[in-house]
Symmetry: C2
Subunit: 348 residues, 2 copies
């Protein structure tokens, strides 16, 4: 076991502070990674503050990890020292259930092991995430990062990226489809980039007129201000697909009205109660579905697609010492569109 | 125009009473039908009492109509005098939009004409339903009724039947699937019969232990009492499909928990706000969809299937003079499972 530097919240009320954690010695299938960058996800904040009621303290957040391999276990065949790699929201799963066999480890029927706050099978207690110097991860859960991309801007692809990519692929979004992306934050900005790269006619659906220019820069063909009833009426019943990235409970009914008959809205952010009227679904045979991150195979496909199409996140870099301020800004949606921590700063 | 006897509610507060209505003279594509039986649907009560805020008075309810053809327009080719026919929830649609072209007239983009309380294109005002002696309907919206079935028990197939049949077919329910039917009323009892006839392993999901025996008689392989937490836990994550026939707003979350990953619950009754937690959908990539009655082609397919498999509704016959008492009993779920009016009684 190694003791390394990390940043953790020690109670629900506390700010993130320096904290020493343990990482396990390498098992035969393990990869040791020196962390270079770690993205800041809204769910880091939910976990630190126990918003979902399942946090275990100390919480070392971080599941958008980019780094270089420093050592590999003796049975590791896909990675070698020096490789540029990533780790997303999961570090293990049973590998035996129907979901795992179908490369859908995120729905592992025996429970996937989350990158932080998951049950640690090796050291006991719970797992610690990427706000730290180093991580040891089972090879199967390590991703190859295309070397041609801006490395630090790749970090958010591991959560915000795959969370939006997976439903777009699952529901077969294709050239010419009219696709709405609801909410322009960390997830939404990736949704716009991906839907646009897949050839869809992309409409950014946002409450805020201040986001029109940015949405267009990201690739949106149109911007629909959801508070404007006239505009909403104009787009009524016209969407093939809606990707709803709103991270909190909200009224979904105006969005259901935007869908065509038989069309689907996928929720990826709202782990919360939402308002829904049965009539909106019944009258047009419409659908609301959910989607959770994506499997490892699909995440690698997304990263390869990003390498080919030169897609990364729009980010703002911070040092770990500024993490508490960054959290406040995330809550106010005051970031374009994802904070990434330069993990070298942990040694400052 | 003919003036005929009907029963109508003249205000929101009024009981149903005798009332004279007009029917149009036959157009070239029209079929004139002497009504023998008319089913009593819960939505008749919603419309009579303006629960959905869109009622037009006087309301002559009734959209589960069975009768004999008495006369046909000169261009009618599929029906002749004496034929046993049915009329369901629609009497017209534009026939030109994408939905109509796909035999989904119920989702007509220009608005289908409901059998009652719809816009009457010919006489002006609104349409009048089947609580009457006679009806004139465009040929395209008239259905052939298999002569081998118990005629009066066929009436509810025109609404309760097709409303449950359509989602079972749309979502490809097949032999061996574990299918839950939520709620044992007019719709639910047909859902059990159809899912069973399609070869599914059918679980009746009900709040009430008093329904166990009846559910089994209808064809349910198991009965799950939804108020029993132990039983609900046992069935967690095990259903391929849920047909939710609950006719009012309710908490859908316990039912979402019953679905397998990627499985769907279809709402057919709740034209109302429902409680839904995004997390329940997200964590298993689950789906909630809606479904409205069915198209004319699909309704004919259902009737033919019923003819082959000898499926009809379980009914209780009433005279039209007892309709107000029947409404009170429907509201208390005190009917197994559908009232059907013997329309000869209108002449009493």
């Amino acid at each position: 076991m190694s003791t390394i530097n990390a940043y953790a919240a020690k109670t629900k009320e506390a700010d993130l502070e320096p904290y020493d954690i343990k990482r396990r010695e390498l098992l035969p299938n393990d990869v040791k990674i020196e962390i270079e960058y770690c993205g800041v996800c809204h769910s880091d904040i939910h976990q630190v503050r126990n918003d979902w009621g399942n946090s275990k303290y100390p919480v070392v957040p971080g599941h958008e990890i980019i780094g270089r391999v420093t050592e590999v276990g003796k049975e590791v065949s896909n990675f070698k020292k020096g490789d540029l790699v990533g780790v997303g929201c999961m570090v293990d799963s049973c590998q035996e259930c129907e979901s795992c066999k179908q490369d859908l480890e995120q729905y592992c029927e025996n429970g996937m092991v989350a990158t932080y706050n998951g049950p640690d099978k090796h050291l006991g207690g719970h797992t610690f995430g990427g706000y730290s110097e180093m991580v040891v991860v089972r090879e199967k859960f390590v991703l190859k990062i295309p070397e041609n991309l801006d490395t630090k801007a790749v970090a958010p692809l591991l959560c915000a990226g795959i969370t939006t990519w997976s439903p777009l692929r699952q529901w077969n979004v294709k050239k010419g489809d009219k696709v709405g992306v609801i909410g322009l934050g960390g997830l939404g900005h990736m949704g716009v980039k991906f839907a646009s790269a897949l050839g869809a006619h992309v409409v950014m659906v946002t409450t805020s007129e201040s986001k029109i220019d940015d949405a267009r820069k990201l690739g949106a063909d149109e911007v629909l201000i959801s508070k404007d009833e006239e505009q909403m009426k104009k787009h009524q019943g016209s969407f093939d697909f809606l990707l709803n990235t709103v991270p909190v409970g909200h009224d979904t009914n105006p969005y259901i009205g935007l869908l065509k008959r038989d069309a689907t809205m996928v929720l990826v952010g709202a782990i919360d109660s939402v308002d829904l009227h049965g009539g909106g679904l019944i009258m047009g045979r419409k659908r609301v579905a959910g989607s959770l991150i994506g499997g490892i195979k699909e995440t690698q496909e997304m990263l390869d697609f990003c390498g080919e199409h030169n897609i990364v996140s729009d980010i703002e870099m911070i040092d770990i010492q500024n993490i508490n301020e960054a959290y406040e800004r995330v809550i106010k949606s005051d970031v374009k569109y994802r904070f990434v921590i330069d993990m070298k700063s942990i040694k400052n």
